[in-house]
Amino acid sequence: MSKKDSRRTFLSKSAIATLAAIVGSKVVFAENFPKELEPVGLQPDEVKVKIPGKSDQLKILNSKPLSAETPPHLLDDEVTPAHLMFVRNNGIPPEEVDVQKWTLTIDGESVVKPMTFGIKELMDNFDHYSYNLTIECGGNGRAEFNPPAKGNQWGLGGVACTKWTGVRLKDVLNKVGIKDDAVYIGYYGADTHLSGDPDKVVISRGVPIKKALEDETLIAWAMNDQAIPVMNGYPLRLVCGGWPASTSGKWLTRISVRDKEHDGPKMEGQSYRVPKFPVPPGTKVPDDQMKIIESMPVKSIITYPKTGAIIPKGGSFEVRGHAWAGDLKVKKMEISIDFGVTWKTCELKDPINRLAWQRWKINVKLPEFGYYEIWARATDEKGVAQPMVLPGWNPKGYLNNASHRIGVRQG
């Protein structure tokens, strides 16, 4: 039997009914196995999963719910092309989207009166704005934590800076009217929970009202002047640049203005939280000693050359990439070719707008034959720089902004 055939046989056995028969209740504990579930784990993910609208060069971390990251050398563009923007799904995206019927409801304890808008109403009634916004997954870099942290093991590529177009959340909130006691907003989306329970909310996070009312916080219907890619939230997305990407709700249907910190799924417990004070690696931190992540930390990537470059003797080459610092600006960019002993300052551009990443570049010449590592280090406007080793350990492995390193050789 060929590999492919055997795999097909394997797949054909995957329906749970058949499984219960072949495996038997003693193995599955079948009485607890929800009827509506198909064991997706039995699907061969080595048969390359195709992500709608995405390059097959993205590295798939999880085939369901889909999570995929971009190798850093593919992030070289100033504006990340749509097919190269990473994906982090928490549940199952909505399958049939009718843009004409799609609505966004603004409600919650702290609105004067709830209101619902169609997408066309949003387009017609409010001014449009476009911003390049850096969105980074809170767990980007998790793969390096020691002891390991659970969840998708992101390398460097859970980040992108694309052009978002839509209306300002603050304009919409002003139209609806918010009360003085508003402290937080929380989003809801149209994705569904992996357990198959249609009433279970997958993820509902948000930001304090101050961040919600910033100019750059958008309700967006376009990315890079096109419809938002299906996996990045089509047809409507909340975008909060510079904060964990999980605050930018996809497939947006509702925003609640809360009179307290929002308490939706993945706001509480250990999700998207770090210890209130530094802890030794491996510490069990009680929930009440954890605080919500707000702005992402200063960070940079080398997008050119790709790691592994062999440079001819005497040759020089450009090294370049992007740097960003959450809500702040990056004020200095440096690289080292001698394992951090000396540092050279790079040319650093201003961001296109607030919360967009900044381009940097430098010409490099390796002194002699041998193996080198290029280390990149950004410093934000408050003087806070990237660490060379892992930053403070935290139980869920967030906020790893350790310096990006690539290997190069002179032949």
């Binding site: 046989t9 929800p34 993910d45 093991q153 892992l390």
Partner: protein, 163 residues
Amino acid sequence: MEELSKKELVLKQAKLAINFGVGVIAFASIWVFQFTIFPDFFKPEPTIVEFIPDSTEPESVSYFELDSADIENGIHVPTGLIVDDGCQDVMVTCGACHSLDLVTQNRATRDGWKEIIVWMQETQKLWDLGEKEVVILDYLAKNYAPENTGRRKNIENIEWYNL
């Protein structure tokens, strides 16, 4: 005289054979009758018996076998799981909601895996795993244990090319 006794002998044997046949039929019908009403009467308690792959026990369901064509270097290629005791249980249970990529990507101690399971039970609708929990934890703790990677690893798997 001789003839008669021969005849009688044959007749006797025939009677014996018929009686035996009737007996067998009667016994069989009683057996079938009780079987339809009390199917489990003569069977052992349906408690957790370990499955023996090619057991001839009439009601033992055929064991869920991995196709050897799918196994390469101890890895079950379609799922990426390490082939070991409990692999099938993990495949079926832990692949129900999400792909097994979430299992193969992660490393944790036994306590760590237990915490992940409890977290999914408290927040993600994972059910009580019953007696399978031990099998699954044994498998995960053995095959997906953490290694100490220090404060930072060397850059690994560089593919060299001429710039």
